[in-house]
Symmetry: C3
Subunit: 258 residues, 3 copies
């Protein structure tokens, strides 16, 4: 007979979930089948935690002596939806109205603001500071030490790297400024800053800092023009996007009209 990481004196089964006796879960929250809630987790009002999730996952030092591990507080804000098979590490703090796809990972010591979303399979590697109203699409990889400001959009398969001289240990995170957009499969090299309202094209490999409102394309990435020079198929200016967004996407400067 082998050992269990969930001794009966510390965990109980409720509605098909396995829950630490030291967790705090709002009575109007939903918790899915097979989900594990570790100690010192705090799940606020009206959350939906999907099935087969793990909330409060311990970091590497747990494996040295599991019974002595001290779980840092994990906080999930009001009205958040975390879809199935997702893993949130101990020491993560998530603001209100968070939404995730399936199978996301958010590692330790990350702080995420309110009204953010993270798509299916995205992997946030820890020690992150993420603002409000940030949208990370599917399968985005955010290296440790990254800083992502309010209203940033990052699209599928983008990687923010952090090791300037791999495999040496010094890490330098990427900073992405307000309203910037990083398009599909772009790679940002370590320590760089992507300026406010900048647009990084699909598949670009960004090797230098990007100034505000600039468009960068290609491998290696080249500064091509201002976002103000871009036109849609009707010849209409469309960026900076904050000034041209016509549909309601839940931003504070917008009015809901439906």
């Amino acid at each position: 007979m082998f050992l269990s990481p969930f001794p009966e004196k510390n965990y109980c089964r409720q509605n098909g979930a396995l829950v630490s006796l030291q967790a705090k879960i709002a009575s109007n929250a939903y918790i899915g089948e097979g989900t594990i809630i570790y100690p010192n987790v705090n799940i606020a009002d009206g959350c939906h935690i999907g099935s087969h999730c793990i909330i409060g996952e311990p970091s590497a030092s747990y494996y040295e002596r599991p019974s002595d591990y001290e779980f840092k507080e994990t906080f999930i804000g009001n009205g958040s939806i975390i879809r199935s098979h997702s893993i949130i590490y101990a020491g993560v703090e998530i603001g209100d109205n968070f939404q995730s796809g399936h199978r996301i990972t958010i590692r330790e010591l990350s702080k995420i603001g309110k009204d953010c979303s993270v798509g299916t399979l995205s992997d946030l590697q820890g020690k992150l500071v993420i603002g409000n109203h940030v949208r990370l699409h599917s399968n985005v990889h955010i290296g440790q030490m990254s800083i992502i400001d309010d209203y940033v959009w990052i699209y599928p398969y983008v990687v923010l790297t952090n090791a300037p001289y791999p495999p040496m240990g010094e890490l330098k995170g990427v900073t992405v400024k307000q309203f910037a957009q990083v398009c599909t499969s772009a790679v940002i090299l370590p320590g760089l800053t992507i300026g406010e309202n900048a647009l990084i094209g699909a598949g670009a490999v960004v090797t230098k800092d990007v100034l505000s409102e600039r468009v960068v394309l290609g491998n290696p990435g080249k500064d091509i023009c201002s976002v103000r020079d871009l036109r849609n198929e009707k010849g209409k200016q469309i960026y900076p996007w904050k000034d041209f967004l016509s549909v309601y996407r839940g931003y504070p400067w917008q009015k809901e009209e439906n």
Copy 2:
């Protein structure tokens, strides 16, 4: 005590799975451990559904009022194999002899033909029309509104995008025509058409429509030659591949000889 998304009056446990009383599962189908079958799911003869899967997952409006949600029909055709940790949304229709890797996601309102396969981690974002005999390899990302015709092959880490002016809301899906192949890590920009029998090289970023039988390589993608000009290491013509496929891969025009 928190809430359960699976009230006992509507779900029962069978063989380690959690199954809606409104689901219809063939008596000769296998369902794995911890798998969840939502209402209005129809699993046909001889299917294997792996462990920790979710079939009939509700879409976003479910979270507004879970108890009122109407599950659209989800259909899994005869003899299909869906491997573990996969998620098929409500309103997906999959033809006979489908095969998947692990942890695939197929979102709502997608229709997939017969004899298709989808590899581990692939993420099909919904509102898709996929033909017959289509092979999507591992970790492919298919944006909403894409159309994929019969006999297409798409290889790992390819992304079919759909937002021409992100983050504006108008989406234009990619169309991939019969027998075309999109190789590893290529990105196809929104609204483009990849012609019949075309070959998109590994890592290409495709920014224009691709004509039938053309080879496109690089970032940005350049039209290099006809697939008929390609030769293997013995100097032999090998494309269009339908005309040169010598091993049996289960296509209707092939005879099984073993």
Copy 3:
């Protein structure tokens, strides 16, 4: 009533796991919630197997006649940590002190040495030979037939391909030699060899063999310089990395000083 892949005469529930009566698990190993251990699995001393994992997953021929399938031996070496939602196929042999992230997949007939690590979401497609002290980061895709020597590092979203003339069936794996590094989102074309101590840049598409100690960048990849020509921001030579690694990373030639 449907069928179960885990008949009660062959499997038992222990501590929330589902375990074959033909598996061999050390009494000091931990096995997580909802994890499935198939027949002929051997888990050695002091391992931690996370929750919702599958160890000894059967390969494709299982589905032809499940009850007749012969499970090849699956071996997990001493002190290994396999994090949640991971899948290790039957016929995989893993050396001591292996560590994985979450949701990795290692397919059949792969042999992995000691002191290796594989990051979250990485997908090892089978028939692989991987040496000792190899580090594969998150979301790496290793095609079948690849050979990876000791001390290699491969970073996120790298793909080692293997089909020279897709979709034709002949596969030619990539070989990565000792101490080489393949950086984020690079793609290596089929059958190529990456030489000892070579450095492949982020986003490179490698189309030719790479000689020892060479740096290759771009799409298509170009041989730019020797790794000995690279300098860090202080003007100091830093490669070959084995000669300049100052922090303790657990390599045999290093002394632990803390």
